[in-house]
Structures are given as structure tokens and as C-alpha cells.
Amino acid sequence: MLSRTADNIYWVARYVERADYLARILEVTLRLTALPLAYVGSTNEWESAVATAGCGKAFHARYREASEDSVKEFLAFAPSNPSSIRNCIELARTNARAVRTALTSEMWDVINGAWLELKRFDNAPGSREEFVRFLRWVQETSLRFDGSAYRTMLRSDAYWFFRLGVNIERADNTARILDTKYHLLLPAHTHVGGPLDYYQWAAILRSVSALTSYHWVYRESLKPWLIADLLMLNPKMPRSLASCYDNLVRYCDDIAEAYGRQGPAQRKARGIRTRLSNLKIDEVFQNGLHEFITEFISDNNELGGAISRQYLM
């Protein structure tokens, strides 16, 4: 297939995934800010939302302070923020439109329908209720899009590039949550215990839709090292780094097999997965959680670059 077509498909997937991620961060932040300060501490949750979204710099170039209004506006609607939910949906559709015939009509209907519906939110929702409804709608759009891809796409290179996009973005998102919140998971915190951390931990799990899963997997109350284990190393959890890399390796291999040739992307994906599967969570803590995450984000970016150079340019 044309490199540009593959590139468009890959980016449609990334933008939809990113919109979904932003919606979940905003929802969790709303929850935390609805709790009494005694339960969550006096940190500015809106500031932390901006950091988790990975756009602190761009935000502070425009706003002095992170408040509910400014962050909602910036992360969800601002045309000036290239990664706002609105722009993600716009960009996803622009990419989809350029390869209209390479997507299934079901996928096109979802993304084009979402784009048309986005206009209803031209005036940013005023009430919390409306805003939450908007965030739900974004997550449902992403579910429908993913689902229609899963159910309607031919299992050929177009599908594999689509899945690569989803998983690179997802791994990046999960890693960013860990990057912003890692201090809450550090051993020093375990002494503190108490409700303050509990709600923060729950919020982390919610932001990757894993609060229920946690209990099924560990059958324990919330423990920071187990949360870290779930998000990073547990291949059963669909948003964990390990699970993303299981997928990335599989789809890179599918492409290599179909084209009869492999390259840097395959080697890089396998290298990262091998590291993840050989690690124990204790070692991660011993060697430094923060260092690990920083390195992972950079590795993940490198894989994105390798995929681009090998196939998409």
C-alpha cells in the first residue's frame, strides 16, 4: 500500500486514542476535585491534568494558572492546542478522509459522524453535567471506532498499521500517567497511607479504566507497587506497557511476514518487549521508577520513529 495511506491510517488511530485518553484524564480530575481537600491533599489537580496530558509548556504559554475553566477549555476545545480533544477528532477525520477508501464504511461513519457532532459543542459546555456528557461521548466514540475497526477491517497491512498506531499511542499515554504520578507510588508514600493516597491511587487506576481489573487481578486493597505492576508489567491489562508491547511486536511481525522482510522497527519492538517481560516490579523500584519511565517514553518514541522511517515515508 501507499506509504501515505499507511501513515494516515496510523495517525487516525493515534488521534482517536489520544482523544479518548484526554477525556479520561479530564473525567478523573473532575472526580478528584469533587472530593474534600482532606481526602486528596492540596495539590492542584488541574495542574497535574495538564502535565499528564503532556502539554504543560503550551498551556502555560497561554494561561498563568491551571483552573477548572482554563484546563477544560485548553484540553478539550482550544483550537490553539494541537492536542485538544477537538483537534484530535478534527485531525483524525482529516487523516481518515484522505484515505477514505482504505477504511471500512463503518469506521468512516463513526469518525465522520463524530466530527459532525463535534459542532454541537462549538460553544464549550458550561455546566459540569454537560461537560461530563461530552467526555462520555468522546470515550464512546473511541470505543465504537476501535470496535468497528476490529469487526470490519480486513486483517491485512492496513489493519496492522492501524493497530500499531493505537498501541504506540496507548503505551505513551500510560507511561505519561506514571510519569506524572510516580511520586505517589514511591515507597516513601506507603508509610503515609491514609485516605489521601487512596483516592489518588484509585484515580490512577480509573484513568486507565482498571480499577475493577485491579481487584480481579490482585484481590487486594490498593497497594502502590501492585498498581505500578498492573500498569507496567501485567500483560493481562490492556493498557499496560507490557500488553501494548505484546501487540506492537505481533503487528510488526505480521507486517514483516507479509512483506517478506524485517527491519529496525521489528528489532526495536522486540527489544523493548524483552526488557518488559524480564523485569520484576521490585527491580523497577530499586533502579528508580522515574528513570525507568523516562527511558521507556523515549524508547517508545524511537519505535514510532523507526516505524515511520521504515514504512510511512
Binding site: L2, S3, R4, R97, R100, W108, N112, L116, Y259, L312
Partner: protein, 472 residues
């Protein structure tokens, strides 16, 4: 326009044979059915065409081109005349282009003034002495035809560059068959659905000799912001070929490749919907970002076929149009089967005098104008405008031609208050390959929806109709 020819009814109100079935069907119809079907058709178009309905970046409701549910019908004999006339005309156009960019016999014979060719911006010096694969220049022509009486079809314009509209021809038929199965049971209508196959066969047949046995064909589009992008992606899909943009192609060692996920893949034939000016920044406009740097040098080396060839504008230019009858006689030794609209060339003093004397009844066109810009429609213009135009013509007579105001034929059309006659034209698509000329029976009928209007352009409120060719 009381005297114009109506496709369905003769002068005394009698129904022409081709329309008998349609007439009976219309009379049997429940009153509201046509309006219901029209609305259904619009819904279907919105569904299929949602990608072009939502074009404008800002507004999501770009108007669809209106579709009229009453077909335009051509009998077998009428179509036979058109088919022969179109084939003849396109053959002559290809021979003419080969000559203009080659030996220039027609200029030596003095049939066309040299300056009309050499000083014409659509003549491309770069094509001079350039051999094009299999001597075909115009692979896809969209010839605009109007009818003025039972026997006379005029060619209004020869579109020999990148004619569009064929997707409507195909979609109109699909929709008609879905909406009116009953009407089709009364007729045997020649199919048009094979057009994509014919087009692909045509394009493959003109692959350069250096191409592989099964040549790779692509469709080159300016991109999603082009107004015909829907048609480009529609055709690429129907033909099963890649829809590429300039940046997807690269030229290396005189060969054109497309960038694929499996590495560069050789391209043999480019069905290009990008204008000459933008094709190659190293040969034409250096600021073009839509083209492929080096494409012309690959073309010159005979390693790739461009369809249509570069420089075909010198065949459909308004200044050249009036010479088409001479061009047909010169290259084919035959009389034209389809007539040209009588045209006065203001560069000729006698013609100029006549035109200046008859401005209120003529249509005057700027030779290098386009899109109806710089045009005088005498019968519609007031004295001031006519006087102003007279001054312009006198200042630069060479730049103008004039034609009589034509009484375009009418066809029954569904309008707000029922069925009424409206003016129509016809754009059949003529395919020329190495081996054959192919014409799918019919074409795109455009209709002026405003009462009395002669303007069928979609940009000015025109609509389209399905076009039927019968076997009797």
C-alpha cells in the same frame, strides 16, 4: 425560447417514440411519487456522497448538485449519430495534437494562424517533438454537446484536458435503478456501469513499451481540497488503482515510482487530474507543491504515460474551436458529422464588422477567458453593457469570438410545480486507447433548473439527469 426543440414532444404535442414509455409511466404515477423519489434520491446522494457534501472546511452542508429524477432518453439512431460524430472528432483531435507538436503541417497549410498556436499559453513548447506513447494525446475527452433540432447536434466545447463529471454519470444510473425499477421494466437501457473497466483497459493499453506486462496505473489527484476530489477517489476505487498525490511519487533514473510500505514501486501510467502548470515544478511553475519533480523528464524519456498528455489545451482552446471543422477535414478528409456552433472570429475584419453590428443578439466570448467570465450574452444585456463590450472588442478584436444565442433543446424535468421543460446539454466521455475508441452509451446530461435559463453549470444552479440510450 418558445421555438426550441423539446426532446419528448414534437411541435404539435405528439410524443416522440423514445419517450412513449416514460410518458405513459408519468401519467400512471401517483401525484406525490416524483417528489418523494426526488427526496429519496437526495438522501441517497448525501449518504454516498457524504464525503463531498461536507467539503467546506467550515460548513458541513455544501450543496449537492441537484439530481432530476426524469431521465433524458436518446433513441438508437440518435446515439449512433453521436457516437460516430464523437469518434470522428476525437480521432481528429489526436491527429491534430500529434501534428501541432510534430511536423506542424496544418500551420504550413495555412489553415490555422501561427500566432493562435505559438502565442497561446495552453500550447506547451515543452511538448514539441516529444513522442507520446502510441501517439495518443487525449485519452479521456468530455465533449459538450447541445441539440437545436431533431437532426442537429452542436459541439459546444471539446474538453481535452482533465474533464470531470463521469462519477455523476455512474451514480445517477445507480440511483435511478434503485428508485424506479418499474420504469426500467418498460425500457431496455444500455448500461454505463462498465465505464471503469473500459477506462482501465484504455489506460493499460497506452502504457509505455518499457512497462511490465501488467502495467501499474495510478490516479494523480491534487488532494482532498480539490473540488473534484470525490470523483478522484470514487474512480480510483472503481478502477482498483492507487489514488496518489504528487508527494507519493518520485522520479529516479528517469523512472517514476510510488512510495509504498514495501518500498518504491514502478508506475507506468498516470491518470492525472492535476493541471499542466502544476505537474512538475522543475518544468513548469516552480512554486507548485502538487506535482512530481522530474516527472517531465521521465515522460520525455518515454518511461511513463500521462493521461491526458501535457499540452492538450491547444485542442480545446476557444481560439482554436472555430477551426475544428477545418481540422477534421484536414486530417480525416471527411465532413464533420457533428456541427460546430457558427462562430465569428473578431480577428477577421469582416467577422468583426458583423459582430459589432449584431451585438444585441450574439454571445461574445473572450478567447482566453474561462468560467463565463468576460462574456457578453447580447439578448440578456442592457445598452450600457453592450456599449462597454463594444469598446473592449474594438480595442482588442483578436481576443474575442462571437456565436449566435442557441436555442438549447428542452427535456421534461421535475420542478416545484410538476413536470416542465428545461434546457439541457450532454457531456459524453470518449476514451481513446492504443487499440480502440470506447464510448459508454450516454454521458452526463446537465439541466438548467431555472425556467428559461440556458446555464447548465453546476456552479450556477444547474442539475444533472440520468441519460438513457435505447436499443431501438
Amino acid at each position: 425560447m418558445a421555438d426550441c426543440f423539446d426532446e419528448m414532444r414534437g411541435a404539435n404535442g405528439e410524443i416522440r417514440p423514445a419517450y412513449a414509455g416514460l410518458d405513459a409511466w408519468l401519467r400512471d404515477l401517483e401525484p406525490d411519487i416524483l417528489e418523494q423519489r426526488r427526496q429519496e434520491a437526495e438522501l441517497l446522494f448525501r449518504r454516498i456522497g457524504i464525503t463531498f457534501a461536507v467539503y467546506g472546511e467550515a460548513d458541513s452542508t455544501e450543496r449537492l448538485i441537484p439530481f432530476d429524477v426524469i431521465p433524458r432518453i436518446l433513441g438508437a439512431a440518435e446515439w449512433d449519430l453521436l457516437r460516430r460524430g464523437l469518434t470522428q472528432r476525437v480521432k481528429a483531435i489526436n491527429l491534430y495534437l500529434k501534428d501541432i507538436y510534430g511536423r506542424r503541417e496544418i500551420l504550413k497549410a495555412g489553415l490555422i494562424p501561427e500566432d493562435l498556436v505559438f502565442q497561446n499559453q495552453v500550447f506547451r513548447p515543452e511538448m514539441n517533438a516529444q513522442k507520446v506513447p502510441h501517439d495518443v494525446y487525449v485519452h479521456i475527452a468530455g465533449i459538450d454537446i447541445v441539440r437545436v433540432d431533431a437532426k442537429t447536434f452542436y459541439v459546444l466545447e471539446d474538453n481535452a484536458r482533465t474533464p470531470s463529471g463521469v462519477s455523476y454519470m455512474l451514480e445517477n444510473r445507480e440511483i435511478m435503478m434503485r428508485l424506479f425499477p418499474d420504469l426500467f421494466s418498460r425500457y431496455r437501457v444500455a448500461p454505463v456501469e462498465n465505464y471503469p473497466d473500459e477506462l482501465l483497459a484504455t489506460l493499460k493499453s497506452v502504457a509505455p513499451d518499457t512497462a511490465a506486462a501488467d502495467p501499474t496505473v495510478v490516479l494523480l489527484t491534487p488532494g482532498i481540497y480539490n473540488s473534484a476530489y470525490f470523483e478522484h477517489s470514487f474512480l480510483a476505487d472503481k478502477l482498483g488503482i492507487e489514488l496518489v498525490e504528487g508527494r507519493d511519487l518520485l522520479v529516479k533514473g528517469g523512472v517514476v515510482y510510488m512510495r509504498t510500505t514495501e518500498g518504491p514501486k514502478r508506475v507506468d501510467v498516470i491518470y492525472r487530474r492535476v493541471d499542466d502548470d502544476f505537474l512538475d515544478p522543475l518544468a513548469f511553475r516552480p512554486d507548485s507543491t502538487l506535482g512530481v519533480p522530474g516527472l517531465m523528464s521521465a515522460y520525455q524519456a518515454g518511461q511513463v504515460t500521462l493521461a491526458n498528455a501535457v499540452g492538450t489545451g491547444i485542442a480545446d482552446d476557444k481560439a482554436i474551436y472555430s477551426y475544428m471543422p477545418e481540422i477534421l477535414r484536414f486530417y480525416l478528409g471527411e465532413e464533420p458529422i457533428l456541427q460546430n456552433v457558427p462562430t465569428w472570429r473578431c480577428r477577421d475584419p469582416d467577422d468583426l464588422a458583423y459582430v459589432l453590428d449584431h451585438l444585441p443578439e450574439l454571445v461574445v466570448k473572450e478567447v482566453h477567458g474561462s468560467g463565463g467570465y468576460g462574456m457578453l450574452v447580447g439578448p440578456m444585456a442592457d445598452k450600457g453593457r453592450i456599449a462597454a463590450f463594444r469598446t473592449r472588442i474594438e480595442a482588442d478584436p483578436k481576443n474575442y469570438i462571437a456565436q449566435p444565442t442557441l436555442a438549447l433543446s428542452t427535456c421534461p424535468t421535475w420542478v416545484e410545480r410538476g413536470v416542465a421543460p428545461r434546457h439541457i446539454d450532454l457531456r459524453p466521455f470518449v476514451l481513446t486507447g492504443r487499440d480502440a475508441v470506447r464510448i459508454v452509451p450516454g454521458g452526463l446530461t446537465r439541466v438548467a433548473l431555472q425556467r428559461g435559463s440556458l446555464v447548465v453549470n453546476s456552479s450556477q444552479g444547474g442539475g444533472t439527469k440520468d441519460t438513457w440510450v435505447l436499443d431501438t
